[in-house]
Assembly symmetry: C2
Homo-oligomer: 222 residues x 2
DNA sequence: CCGCATCCGTTTCGATACTG
DNA sequence: CAGTATCGAAACGGATGCGG
């Protein structure tokens, strides 16, 4: 049953918290920042949240205009959740919030790391570089494929299969996060079996290095 | 008893919510954005929060490095809560969050409006204006005095008494919010007894107009 | 009066089980 | 796959108590 309590405060900050301040709500939004997701994708990305909680939050956020529920085309015909345009405008706010937390003096308690978190970090930490040639990548993280397009140090990320990837990488979010901090570990990760790659390996390396050059912003504890 | 649960997620966004994601926590931070406040000030500004909740949040936020507890000089000798430098860095995040909420299609449920909310709105909506002469104001809102300094369309706000105010205004946050939307109602508010003014009335009017020229950002529902 | 701590009923959360 | 149902635990919210 959806939560209905309000701070009863006219301030914009309080009103924002009335809308997205419930527990898990902003993490659901985070998971949708890079594109539509199915219920099960969210469930996997947020293993700490129980299914009824996710269902409640989705209903609330839909009713409040932050996201919408949409049916995919046949033959898939499944339902996905996607941010409305207004919901998408939370992106800079969330990135700023994540950046703020990186300065915490407290030790990190973390256990999980979602694909979206790391990909937001990848995209956010990429720095413009006119020299960098364009390339398309296929990233497979936890049973889900992502399309990454990089050009001139700018990185785009979408859920789903790329058409003609130059290179691909299959790993888990934690390993990818490590590789983004230190691309030099790519060979070792492959040797360990923690990562599997294919296609244009130098191009893959350039992708990792694009991010490694930037400062930590969201994905990890830097 | 302080809350201790965590999302267990390495993402910066999740870690931020581990720190300031508990109910009322960000509204406590909001109240401290303009300067230190005593427990009772917070209690009055957040009438919807029970006193034990406020005490819990203050302890948690102190332990997490967002704010600190400090003893004032004699003869006051009372305790105040103030943001740490790191806590103060939440300001742009909160203002962005508040700005986002103003676009909500949902009707406002609000009942209360704190002095800090309106003053953040005043300060944030002021627009640079080289013509505007400098002035100092005393604003009294709900039994508490604030110092406002305006110059060239830039507005500074601090809690406490000004030294030599050019003008003063005593009213409640809701009335001040209305006046910021429409300074033309100042005369009527004074006639109603909803506001009491003194000193340089034209200067006061300029202050209200400085804000009225800008777009709504945080304080009200615009 | 200020600054909490304690008590207690209600709401929300979180884990697991279950259904179309 | 995409949720709903159930239930104990925790957090919230309001009232009251209490030392300084």
């Amino acid at each position: 049953m959806p939560t209905t309590r309000s701070y009863g405060d006219a301030c914009g900050i309080a009103r924002a918290l009335d809308i997205v301040g419930e527990r898990w709500a902003l993490l659901v939004v985070r998971e949708l920042l890079l594109g539509p997701q199915r219920f099960t994708d969210l469930r996997r990305a947020l293993p700490g949240a129980s299914t009824n909680l996710i269902a409640d939050r989705l209903r609330e956020l839909e009713g409040r205009g932050v996201l919408r529920r949409r049916q995919l085309q046949a033959p898939a015909a499944s339902w996905v959740y996607e941010l409305t345009e207004w919901g998408q405008e939370l992106e800079p706010v969330l990135l700023a919030l994540g950046g703020w937390a990186l300065e915490t003096p407290l030790p990190p308690p973390p256990v999980t790391l979602s694909a979206t978190s790391v990909l937001l970090f990848l995209r956010g930490s990429a720095r413009p570089d006119p020299q960098a040639p364009p390339a398309t990548y296929r990233l497979e993280l936890g049973d889900r494929a992502w399309t990454v397009r990089a050009a001139a140090g700018h990185v785009e990320v979408r859920p789903g299969e790329p058409e003609q990837p130059d290179a691909w990488l299959r790993t888990d979010p934690g390993t990818l996060n490590v590789l983004l901090q230190d691309p030099g570990q790519l060979d070792r990760a492959v040797a360990d079996g923690a990562a599997v790659t294919g296609g244009d390996r130098p191009a893959l390396r350039r992708l990792l290095e694009t991010a490694a050059r930037g400062p930590a912003t969201v994905g990890s504890q830097g």
